[in-house]
């Protein structure tokens, strides 16, 4: 397996050494974990019962999160369809394909929190930054999966439409779109489901939604209010999952 017999022990020793050094450097110790668990118990005790008194603030944040998720999903789909076409090897020329793939890779490179920080710097605090963040996130996810679907479509149907003298656009409309429409619908719903989750976190860096409220509750030691927020997030994510499951089944 190793090109030289002495390499095996050296690599193993180095790897093990790095692990030990990491644990020491990061001060990972059983004792600290135990202390942390005890403190978590105290936090949990103070969080009960959840405090729903500031319902207005809670509802406002959640609504904003849902709005961010929905709007960015819509934008992501509208922008994602053309990008997916450009990134499908079987419908465009090689240079276009390379550009399309490049755009998708770029959109997928950074975690949404990093993208959110950049957009907050660019357009300021608030939900607009959140919408832009998740739209970029859509582009990466939606376009990549749709492009892969387009690459597996039945070529015969495209050939038949081309043979009628149809233009490139008409071939896309009649030869390609009907074949991938169920996928577009499915991905859009799935994307919305994911965005619902993500829209609850990006508020932490100032990109709108319930995340900011949650972060503030924690930093002010309002653990009971924080628990209320967490419970509502769980509820909203479950509802989103249910809706998306239903919608996907009816889109088959």
């Amino acid at each position: 397996m190793w090109p030289r017999p002495w390499m095996g022990p050296v690599v193993w020793t180095a790897g093990l050494g790095f692990l030990v050094w990491s644990a020491v450097n990061l001060e990972v110790s059983p004792e600290r974990i135990a202390r942390g668990l005890a403190r978590f118990g105290a936090v949990a005790a103070r969080a009960f019962p959840p405090d729903f008194h500031r319902g207005g603030l809670l509802a406002e944040g959640i609504l904003e999160s849902v709005e961010i998720a929905t709007l960015s999903t819509l934008l992501g789909t509208l922008l994602g369809i053309p990008v997916a076409v450009l990134a499908a090897r079987n419908v465009v020329a090689l240079p276009v394909y390379a550009a399309g793939r490049g755009a998708i890779t770029l959109a997928r490179t950074f975690h949404e929190l990093i993208v959110a920080i950049i957009f907050v710097k660019a357009v300021g605090f608030g939900p607009l930054a959140g919408v832009l963040t998740l739209t970029v996130n859509s582009l990466g996810f939606f376009s990549k999966l749709l492009a892969e679907r387009i690459e597996t479509i039945d070529r015969g149907q495209i050939e038949a439409i081309r043979a009628t003298g149809a233009s490139r656009g008409a071939v896309l409309l009649y030869g390609v779109l009907p074949q991938v429409l169920p996928r577009i619908i499915g991905l859009t719903i799935y994307q919305w489901d994911i965005h619902l989750r993500q829209s609850t976190i990006i508020g932490i860096v100032g990109a709108g939604g319930i995340g900011a409220t949650l972060y503030n509750a924690f930093s002010r030691y309002d653990y009971d209010f924080a628990l209320a927020i967490l419970l509502v997030i769980v509820a909203i994510v479950l509802v989103g999952e249910g809706v998306s499951a239903l919608a996907r089944r009816s889109a088959q």
Binding site: Q157, A160, A163, T164, A166, A170, L173, Y174
Partner: protein
């Protein structure tokens, strides 16, 4: 009138599909092209409407040099050639009506095509043609709900609403059972005669070709090795066309 002269095609894979094919179709006649698989039959048809790009040679349809066309002019020329496919190649998730009307896509704007607003005469023609191929009442069924024979009839209707000058028919019955095959082939020959247009029909089934053809073109390894009346298909001629091919592959 269709004129093919010196057609050459080598695929990037190195497969030399056509080696100087020439043929002429003068009148509104159905010409049956036979030959073993790999002889270049499909490539020949696809070169005529330039779905496949020939390397050399000239194709003329009613005096227009198809091989000299590019872009919009090529697409306009394709409208004049109706193609029928072995696997039908219907857009599975669209209705029968949408599939037939897709034969008019070369004539309508993208915006109209998107909204399914085809000119009323196109829609009328689609209804009439569907009735003619025996599918009246099937307009709103989805293509993937049809049987093989019905699908091929939709394919035929799609080619016909183009108002083509020629039909390019690629193994139209290979995916059908024997009884349906005969009915579909009869329909194609009949409709071409009715429209007064020639049809180039690829077929691997020699008895079927004998039953429907007057003129036969035999292809072997990318060359025309026979071009003449169906009566001339003697065992020696068949040997020339299928030479070296085992019986089962004929």
């Amino acid at each position: 009138m269709l004129e093919v002269a010196g057609l050459e095609k080598t695929y990037p894979t190195g497969d030399h599909a056509l080696r100087g094919v020439s043929l002429r179709v003068d009148g509104p006649d159905a010409v049956f092209i036979i030959g073993p698989s790999g002889a270049g039959k499909s490539t020949l048809l696809r070169c005529i409407n330039r779905l496949v790009e020939p390397d050399a040679g000239v194709i003329r349809l009613d005096g227009q040099e198809i091989t000299a066309l590019e872009g919009a002019a090529l697409r306009a020329a394709r409208r004049g050639m109706g193609m029928i496919f072995q696997e039908f190649n219907l857009v599975e998730r669209l209705t029968v009506m949408e599939n037939v009307l897709s034969g008019r896509l070369g004539y309508v704007s993208l915006w109209r095509a998107w909204r399914r607003r085809f000119p009323s005469e196109d829609v009328e023609a689609a209804f009439t043609t569907l009735a003619r191929v025996g599918l009246a009442g099937f307009e709103n069924k989805r293509a993937d709900a049809l049987s093989g024979g019905q699908r091929q009839r939709v394919g035929i209707a799609r080619a016909l609403v183009q108002r083509p000058k020629i039909l390019l028919v690629d193994e139209p019955t290979s995916s059908l059972d024997p009884k349906t095959s005969e009915a579909v082939m009869a329909l194609i020959v009949e409709l071409a005669a009715e429209e007064g247009i020639p049809a180039l029909v690829n077929i691997h089934d020699v008895p079927m070709a004998r039953a429907f053809a007057r003129r036969i073109v035999g292809l072997n390894d990318g060359r025309v090795v026979y071009d003449g009346p169906v009566d001339g298909l003697t065992p020696e001629v068949l040997e020339r066309i299928y030479g070296g091919t085992p019986e089962v592959a004929r």
